[in-house]
Symmetry: D2
């Protein structure tokens, strides 16, 4: 991962207004891995006050996507073609941590995994596992 690629990923993250709404931060980025975390804010909950599945999904998918982007040829952006999430435990706690990892990087498709943990009274409990497919895309000049 070149410094330009890391900048490109961090800029892309900063331009996602959904990540701002989630209060999310990009905490760690290495070639093939990405960690993103966010508090469980009042506005991002399901009917019992736990974190909403859309929050869990959004963090996991984004961590997996930037993990993929970190191993792509520079100048490309990443698109989620598809992703499956298994929600193994309720998102109970005060903060979610998503760790994305590249399982295999092909030229046209990158298979990724993410695990999402809930921080609750000191413990990090696994709440979700994601398995998906990322696609490199060349940004069009007109895209903004």
């Amino acid at each position: 991962m070149t410094p330009e690629q890391e900048n490109q990923i961090r800029e892309s993250f900063d331009h996602q207004s959904m990540m701002t709404t989630f209060g999310a931060s990009l905490d760690d980025l290495t070639p093939g891995t990405c960690r993103i975390s966010a508090p469980i804010l009042d506005g991002n909950q399901q009917q019992h006050g736990f974190g909403h599945a859309a929050l869990t999904f959004g963090l996991g998918d984004t961590a997996a996507g930037y993990a993929a982007m970190s191993v792509m040829e520079p100048g490309h952006e990443v698109l989620t073609a598809e992703i499956k999430i298994s929600l193994v435990s309720p998102a109970k706690g005060y903060r979610l941590i998503a760790e994305g990892t590249v399982l295999r990087a092909g030229r046209r498709l990158i298979t990724v995994e993410a695990k999402v943990f809930a921080k609750d009274a000191g413990e990090n409990r696994l709440i979700a596992v994601l398995l998906g497919t990322m696609v490199p895309v060349k940004p069009k000049p007109t895209a903004t």
Copy 2:
């Protein structure tokens, strides 16, 4: 679906703060189907101003979940065990519409599908397909 069940679903929806953050409304509910829609608000976008995958996922998952709940025994709540989303087109437009459908209802597991469409210049374009598994849960007296 009894009137009590419809009330229970609508109350559950209203208690999801994430749905409020999304500006979502539960537009239609029949036994085995549910339609939810939301505008693509400024705070729910990805880096190019399209709807974020977490928004698309959240609406699709919720529509599929309440479709499942509408065919469950009264007094139960619904939990997403897992769900897969194929993102077939960018969420470009001004409003997303998610239609959840029950494919098969067992006693312990309910297989559901959802399709999400983007309203853009009059046209409703398919942007995502979801396939997942819902589980009925008895709410615990202490849960709130």
Copy 3:
């Protein structure tokens, strides 16, 4: 779909020794759909004498794959990038029928669905739903 493409699909099917082991036949092929069926042979069962999930999967995946190939540019082959199967009912009966359908065809990825039914005492019961991603590949000169 040109006649050459239909020939290419039928030849590809005939070269899959697994389809022969399954006793499978390619029953119908139109642009964007494919139907494949097979008996539940003695050698393709699980521990209770029902059709094995590998049989259900193999028929569904193959039907979905050829549905995708039927809408690709001629001269390409199809590869399953990933596919999810929900097994909604046991494969009880004497014959399985898999119907593959293209949900959306992009240039690089084709999103497909398949439904698998079991023929049992006249009735066709839905036993599985698949949702997956197919990729067109140019066959290498050396591949055979």
Copy 4:
């Protein structure tokens, strides 16, 4: 895992005629993991002579299922509710090895993963990753 459970799993495996057709063997079983392998026989191939996706799937799904069964209450059988497979590389080689692992065991649902490797010239190459949901079932007295 009690000795009875291990026996029950090995008996169940032996009663799957599909595993015999695949030439598969159950090579290792510990609480929460299961390893199954099989040669790529002439009758289990796709159109280019590689292992068929139904073979890869069947081994991965079965390894994941028995991994789940090994942590269930004795006397239960396992059912795959759903499973997703990402096929990351062609099944090229002479033998496939599937390793199933329990990611989280709940009372009603068990989330499992499997990785499938192809043995080819000494090397074990990752060819598939599976993520799925297993359900414990009480065998009915009439089941055979």
